[in-house]
Subunit: 398 residues, 2 copies
């Protein structure tokens, strides 16, 4: 198999974007190109662009976004496609970038993930997000993502003894991490007592979808992130060699039932397990090899259950690991050093790419203030729908 | 490079679909799976699904369409992504299917192209199609595709002597071909005299966007098409060997300026030329090797200019070749034996896949009534935007 790696990363400040969708794409892309040393002389080596987004069409009424980006970046006639896989669109774009180079069709691929979420607010925003549920089932009956996550959390509480406070522990950890990430949407520490004390919890951390409260789920953010991928055998020739080469060691993805209600064990996230297993197998690695992970905590319960499904902790022990501090910086398996979706923000299509940007920074030793010392291998889980389509990516400097 | 081929094809009847978007996808997919001999015993060898569509989000308000299709077809946990590249979404999905197998990540890929166009009518439909133009430029100023094609046609008339009657000649040919394609939207012969005679042309063939008349452009159609792709080295093991293996010999794609007005030579379709050259190079072939072609005649002028850009005829001679009958069945370079977009219909995301379905039928000798005897190699051109993103596919039994 041809070796494929990441030589440049870019990331906008997540939050409310002052610029529209395509400008966010180009801003992240230009930063990744600069980071890789791509300029007038060699930027035309980029022969494929993938843009991962869920809502370019539905929200921004743009088709052919990838072609527009190619033109604005002045890298014609690069090939260009837009990829949609709900909130896992970003990692899907990375997987396709890997395929494009490994197949020999392309040598250098620009991968962008982006979303302009805050263009739609209130019911319109909730409805847009809900389109990722089964179009003829859950969506039609008005189920929303927070309500579904609430039901899922309740089942985990009953089955494994997860407590509301465990969700808050994850939230507090991710907020603390985000304070060291200048691109995070919310850079503010949160005190556990303040969001859990029954005396004032309804004021500081109000219920959204029982049992979920405001700090148990991510905010609504705009943002974009980008990666420049290159074949190892072309890196020097193209002049993209001045940063450490971060190899894509494994990509995996898997689908689960689109109707969540059809799952045999509704507390399992089967597609997380299968996609991670596929990525481990391709990388020739096990969970023990992972030094740092970005998991998809759109809801805090997901970070807990995903940490079990990817093999870090035994089934039902994820919340205990969080309580022990195993997933904090300095713990055994640091998770979401970037701040996670909870505090860094979750612009749907951007998230999968943003996760890998963080892993690359960790593996390069550039994660100032949140650095995991000696990190050599990272895992990202990007979660689409309510787990109906999940992508896993393993990157390494080994 | 790993050998990748097509072992199954499926195609809905284009026109007004009695069923919604996802059902069209599944109908075409099931037909392709049946055609390949995929059933309970071996259908789970399908490890990746790509759905090419421009409007699943904008028109049908569906995200994650590919995941929903996987679930309905009961081929979980197959990987799944939706691909958007305007009207070239279908061929993009084929290209990605090729990459997925050639990279070794997948062995068997289901490629679906689909569009539910007729859910949006009138200005809403025109607007949906117009989103493929530059979002900050042409689209914002209200330019539509027919008006742009009208301007382009006028330039070709002035520069190369193309006449309105030449467009009608192409149209009449494609309508005649479609009469032999049971899946074509419009299966009706058209008499040249009837749509060109000045005495009654305004009644039989009214102006739409000067100089373009009704018969100079495609209708609005719903439809879906599907291909089952497999690695040659897995074909026998998976039991997909009962039909002739049609090898994907070349895939190419290229972008051009997103603003049409920015092109140095506005009558050139540079991305058609570059994508075809890329596919020829990969296939180790030249235009002389092509026995049958499906070109993207969303407007009849495009078939003429594309036939030049892909190297069949010298620059400016495409309309003369059409006049001579070179592009008809029995001519030197038969084009659009399926009826083309003009008469078979043009459900945007479906078209690129539908074109290759026709080529496979030709190469298998299954194109009853429209068969090109001894056809061994075919070329398809799928055209996105107004030529801002074009994909070329070469298939062969050689």
């Amino acid at each position: 198999m041809r070796e494929v790696g990441i030589v440049g990363v870019g990331h906008t400040k997540f939050g409310k974007s002052p610029v529209p969708f395509l400008d966010m794409c180009c801003q992240a892309a230009l930063e990744a190109m600069d980071d890789a040393g791509a300029k007038t002389g060699n930027k035309n080596h980029i022969d494929q662009v993938f843009v991962g987004t869920m809502g370019a069409g539905m929200v921004s009424r743009i088709s052919g976004a990838a072609s527009a980006v190619v033109d604005t970046l002045n890298i014609r006639p690069a090939m260009a496609e837009t990829v949609e896989n709900g909130p896992a669109s970003g990692a899907s774009a990375i997987k396709l970038g890997y395929m494009a180079i490994a197949s020999g069709v392309a040598n250098c691929v620009l991968v962008i993930g982006a979303e302009g979420m805050r263009a739609v607010t209130g019911w319109e925003g909730t409805d847009f997000v809900a389109t990722m549920l089964h179009p003829d089932g859950e969506y039609k009956y008005g189920l929303t993502l927070p309500s579904l996550a609430g039901l899922f959390t309740r089942l985990c509480m009953d089955k494994y003894g997860v407590e509301s406070k465990d969700l808050s522990i994850v939230s507090v950890k991710n907020h603390a991490n985000a304070c060291h990430n200048p691109n995070a949407h919310i850079q503010r520490t949160v005190v556990l007592e303040r969001i859990t004390n029954p005396a004032y919890i309804n004021a500081t951390n109000p219920l959204v979808a029982d049992p979920l409260r405001q700090f148990d789920m991510c905010p609504v953010s705009d943002g974009a992130a980008a990666l420049l991928l290159v074949a190892k055998d072309k890196q020097d020739e193209y002049g993209f060699g001045h940063k450490k080469f971060v190899r894509i060691a494994g990509v995996g993805s898997a689908t689960d039932t689109h109707y969540v209600a059809n799952r045999a064990v509704p507390t399992d996230l089967l597609a997380v397990r299968l996609s991670a297993q596929m990525a481990y197998k391709m990388a020739g690695m096990t969970p023990e090899d992972i030094d740092v992970a970005e998991l998809h905590d759109a809801f805090q319960i997901l970070e807990i259950v995903e940490s079990e499904e990817v093999g870090f902790f035994p089934r039902g022990d994820g919340h205990l690991a969080a309580r022990r501090g195993d997933t904090a910086i300095g713990g055994k398996k640091p998770i979401n050093t970037s701040g996670g979706l909870k505090a860094k923000g979750h612009p749907l299509g951007a998230t999968g790419v943003s996760q890998v940007v963080e892993l690359v920074k960790q593996l390069r030793g550039e994660a100032t203030g949140r650095q995991i010392e000696g990190a050599k291998t990272g895992l990202a889980i990007n979660f689409g729908g309510f787990g109906n389509n999940v992508c896993a990516t393993i990157v390494t400097t080994k």
